[in-house]
Symmetry: C2
Subunit: 262 residues, 2 copies
DNA sequence: TCCTCTAGCTTGGAC
DNA sequence: GTCCAAGGTAGAGGA
């Protein structure tokens, strides 16, 4: 960990230059180097990721304390000219036990898989991460037309909860395809924390593919997210894809309430 | 800049926890905090970006040296429990003169705009960053059918240079749309360093839009990149989008050669 | 402000 | 290895 007035040049995926200034140079145990200024973001001004090799060449030239060359095996080079070293400390931190995370897309997926009534009446989970040739669909649900009508009164779903138009799901008269499972329809759900146009494109690709399968079609799509950009919503609705805004806290609360009940 | 055995909890967009271990804590001038371990990448294990507020509450409890709370106005909280402080230094670095970069997508765009013969015979630059309702198209070119045929022998283009099939561009008999500029066609070019499926979707959206303009259509598409993933290539070709692999060094070399000639 | 797109993205997982 | 998808993506730039 060095604080020094320095000049930095990176040459690799692009070329970048830092004029002389006082900066913090972090050399990690694996030889990787970070060049930080006293502001900006968590991203260094310049860096070299491991695996890489740091070589120090002391320089006799006036006004230059030393020169570091940090290279990796892809031919990228970070050259640091140390003009004046203000501080140089070294500590052994040991290996870190690591970070545990909670609350990302996966958690939303699990919750929604347990709360399929949010998707409309009569939908039952087929599986999460339903595999296709172009990747897994987050959630695939199935609805038997007969079941849906019968089941609706018994579902015990609070009328206010579902955000999409249930009646539309139930009442739509979709012709049965030949070869398809009689009376069955499917729903592919794409889940995002923030849904942008990309999410709509992704779901569209899945729907195109799934609707080629006579045992699945007709397959509808729902885009479920904590937030949906207006453009994504417009594109989705233009393609007949439903939008469902998820309230993470509410879903988690219901999940906890369920746990308390059983 | 503190080195300490510490425990860290982040609560905000997700929840994350770091068990007790010795780590480097960087507090920048703007109050932002980075928690680094002695390895991994340039990304901290945990952090809080500016603008945020750091408050330190000294704790009398045995085995706890202090507690930091770093909050931002979005309600995110980073809580750091300092169990043992091994080092605590402070330096004023001043403001950084900043980083200069060169060689990213913008540079590829400029070079290709000067070397439109790589796109096929007869294409002339209309403009870079051609504005549309859904964002700027990297490069838009124009080809007068008459000009293209007349101009071909005079272009002085080395036969080996263009990577796409020129004859295809010139010889295709595309019917003139009513209301379109007579004899003109356009080419929309999407440039990427690495082209994935996303790039194809992006270009497809542009093409859909541009082809609604009677003064532009017919508009073709070319995906130009230093590398193109196989899936992107397949999807692009399936949609009639040409793929062009760019050699950055070669393009830069030709650029330099041009400079030497004039 | 929101939304878009780029990034030396990084990183993890599947194949 | 290559490719895809997610990220507390961050950050710049334009409407």
């Amino acid at each position: 960990m060095v604080i020094a007035r320095c000049e930095v040049d990176y040459s690799g995926r692009l070329d970048a230059h830092l004029p002389p200034a006082t900066r913090l140079l972090l050399v990690k145990a694996d030889g990787s180097v970070l060049v930080h200024s006293d502001g900006g973001s968590y991203k260094p001004l310049n860096w070299m990721s491991p695996p890489c090799l740091l070589t120090e060449t002391p320089v006799a030239t006036d006004g230059i304390a030393a020169e570091w060359r940090v290279e990796n095996n892809a031919g990228e080079l970070l050259r640091i000219t140390l003009l004046e070293i203000l501080s140089d400390t070294s500590v052994d931190l040991g290996t870190d036990p690591g970070l545990t995370k909670d609350g990302v897309e996966l958690h939303l997926q699990r919750l929604l898989a347990e709360q399929t009534d949010r998707l409309g009446l009569g939908w039952r989970l087929v599986r999460r991460e339903y595999p296709t040739a172009i990747g897994p669909v987050d959630i695939l649900c199935r609805q038997s037309a007969a079941l849906a009508v019968d089941a609706a009164p018994d579902e015990g779903v609070p009328a206010a909860r579902p955000t999409v138009d249930d009646l539309d799901h139930v009442a739509d008269a979709v012709p049965e395809p030949e070869g398809g499972a009689p009376g069955a329809r499917h729903l592919a759900v794409e889940i995002k924390r923030r849904a942008t146009i990309d999410a709509v494109e992704q779901l569209t690709r899945y729907l195109d593919l799934l609707n080629r399968d006579p045992f699945l079609r007709p397959v509808r799509g729902t885009l479920a997210a904590q937030s949906i950009t207006p453009q994504a919503r417009t594109l989705a609705e233009d393609r007949g894809i439903r939008c469902l805004v998820l309230d993470y806290d509410e879903m988690r609360g219901i999940d906890n309430a369920d746990e308390r009940l059983f």
